[in-house]
Subunit: 388 residues, 2 copies
Amino acid sequence: MRSVSIIGAGCTKFGEHWEKNFKELIAEAGVKAILDSGLERKDIQAVYGGCMASGRFVGQEHIGALIADQLGLNPIPSTRLEAACASGGVALRNGYIAVASGLYDVVAVGGIEKMTEVSTEDAGFALGGAGDQETELFMGASFPALYALMARAHMSKFGTTEEQLAHVAVKNHSNAVNNPYAQFQNAVTLEQVMKSGYVASPLKLLDCSPISDGAAAVILVSSDYAKKNKLDKKAVEIIASAQASDTLALASRENLYETKAGKIAGKQAYEQANLTPKDIDFAEVHDCFTIAEIMAIEALGFCKQGEGGKFTEQGNTKMDGSIPVNTSGGLKAKGHPVGATGVAQAIEAYQQLNNNAGKRQVKGAETGLTHNIGGSGATAVVHIYRKA
Amino acid sequence: MRSVSIIGAGCTKFGEHWEKNFKELIAEAGVKAILDSGLERKDIQAVYGGCMASGRFVGQEHIGALIADQLGLNPIPSTRLEAACASGGVALRNGYIAVASGLYDVVAVGGIEKMTEVSTEDAGFALGGAGDQETELFMGASFPALYALMARAHMSKFGTTEEQLAHVAVKNHSNAVNNPYAQFQNAVTLEQVMKSGYVASPLKLLDCSPISDGAAAVILVSSDYAKKNKLDKKAVEIIASAQASDTLALASRENLYETKAGKIAGKQAYEQANLTPKDIDFAEVHDCFTIAEIMAIEALGFCKQGEGGKFTEQGNTKMDGSIPVNTSGGLKAKGHPVGATGVAQAIEAYQQLNNNAGKRQVKGAETGLTHNIGGSGATAVVHIYRKA
């Protein structure tokens, strides 16, 4: 397997796009990524696109072909991957495999979701498809409810508090203030989070990521190709790509206070990169709810199991902490167009490692990690990056 | 890239499954494939599953994780691919790439669709997602209507007749009589087809493939692994895998009487295998409508462009013709659970090349081809196989 690098990235603003449709979001992110890479459309040999539930959100499937069409890239192969909220991460991984294998030198990887075309109720039903509809959503358990169960288990087992969860939201909103692509570029106080209404106790409104529209794209090339074509100035190498799965339904898990697939994917990624958690300079993790970030930093070994709440409260995951987490604002404040999220995380890594993240730059960042989760943890994808 | 072989296959009966749900169909096909391969679950390293529109059909996404869960395969990576009616073919291709690259030695590839849980109207809407909803379905053009436009264009350009289309249906039903997994194991006469009611003129009821439930799975291994582990007795090598795309909307195509993506994918597959159409002993092609088979055999070079109708009428694609096409019964008579179709085509190739197709065996078959189309042709996937 060959070395693979990101050499270009493009993203739409995340948020409610009332004047741009599904196709226009794809075009915007895709064109920006191609322009940023220095390549032309004709150089791209294949497309891998992540999207979760376009069938329910916009009545459209066949997203691979749609992306190629929208960007004028046909007749090259263009394929959609779906792994619920990890669709973007899985698309990145399959694009990575296609280049690493030697099959292609240049691929485009994208992620897209347009979630605001349907009612909040219908959006909730579509998102429920990330869990086990038959035993969960159909029985009344929405996604906030599933994560609330995990939060309760974590609080019960480890003594994690609602204030500790709130610290995740405060930190991520504070980071998003400096991200022009974020849905919520406003800070929130601990008091505001604590006083926001319960969605599913113990999770409050400000513990939850929003419903978002958005698209993100990156251009992957073999590192040799980048060097040979002098495209390596901004190249960021993907030094690990790992994916794992867990049971779809929460009820089938060994316990509710950890994400086993996240732990396994993290372990495999560290092995591939020959690194330990201490070597990571920053991480984008899947904080669809604040408890998810706590469980993620534990699964990834940034702190001991059960200590994620305290670790966050102490400020270790802040911009100036030992391991800045979700410098982009995370799903919580940057927004969470589910299919785009995994690719947007890679873009944050690309920008940080190019020392191009503006006011949210992690000083001296050399190695970054992204962690993308599907549903309540049934899919986990972890990538590690370093400046090439 | 390494040589890759199919060493096991499993399929459910295609049809209306009122007593088996989405998960049970996956379990049945998956378990059969694993048992047929001679391997155990623990040997499988990754899963690639094709599914088109489970969100609309059964309210479920996250199909990769669901498959792994259902077969007790987690925590291995399990990924869903979607390319409308070519989802199965694209899953096969991505499983192939994962093994050919050296990343995995053993992967399971599956395809699934459960289409009868919703009304025919809702199924039509879900299937419309394979085209350009915005300019086609939302404007009233259902899939039979889109293929009717292509049929009219073909008839107008080349003089193809409704009788010639009907011959496709008669042949495919006649083949399905000998396929115990087929939805329609009954022969139909030319008169029956010609007298069936118009769905979208010139396409009649018996020109159309049905709404179906079904799942199909194959086990892929590196050919070296098969040999080393003495699993190569039934091994069938995949000697070419090609995919191409075209515009999503018919209105954007250069013309309506050919499938450009099918032509390109076919050409690439022949080049990879270093073969010509004359070297192919049998083919499973995408006959979602009878006109689609005519266009497929032209795109694949089994006859000249425009002569597909006459070629079929003359009996060249029958069991005893020069190039037997859709020995399984095709989508028309075997059934068309869209996500499963591309994998089921590979299973027919596997059975034919193992001289294991019973009364529908093509004598002396050494090389076979499968051709899987998404929507009205915006995705095309072609694979070529030979006895390993």
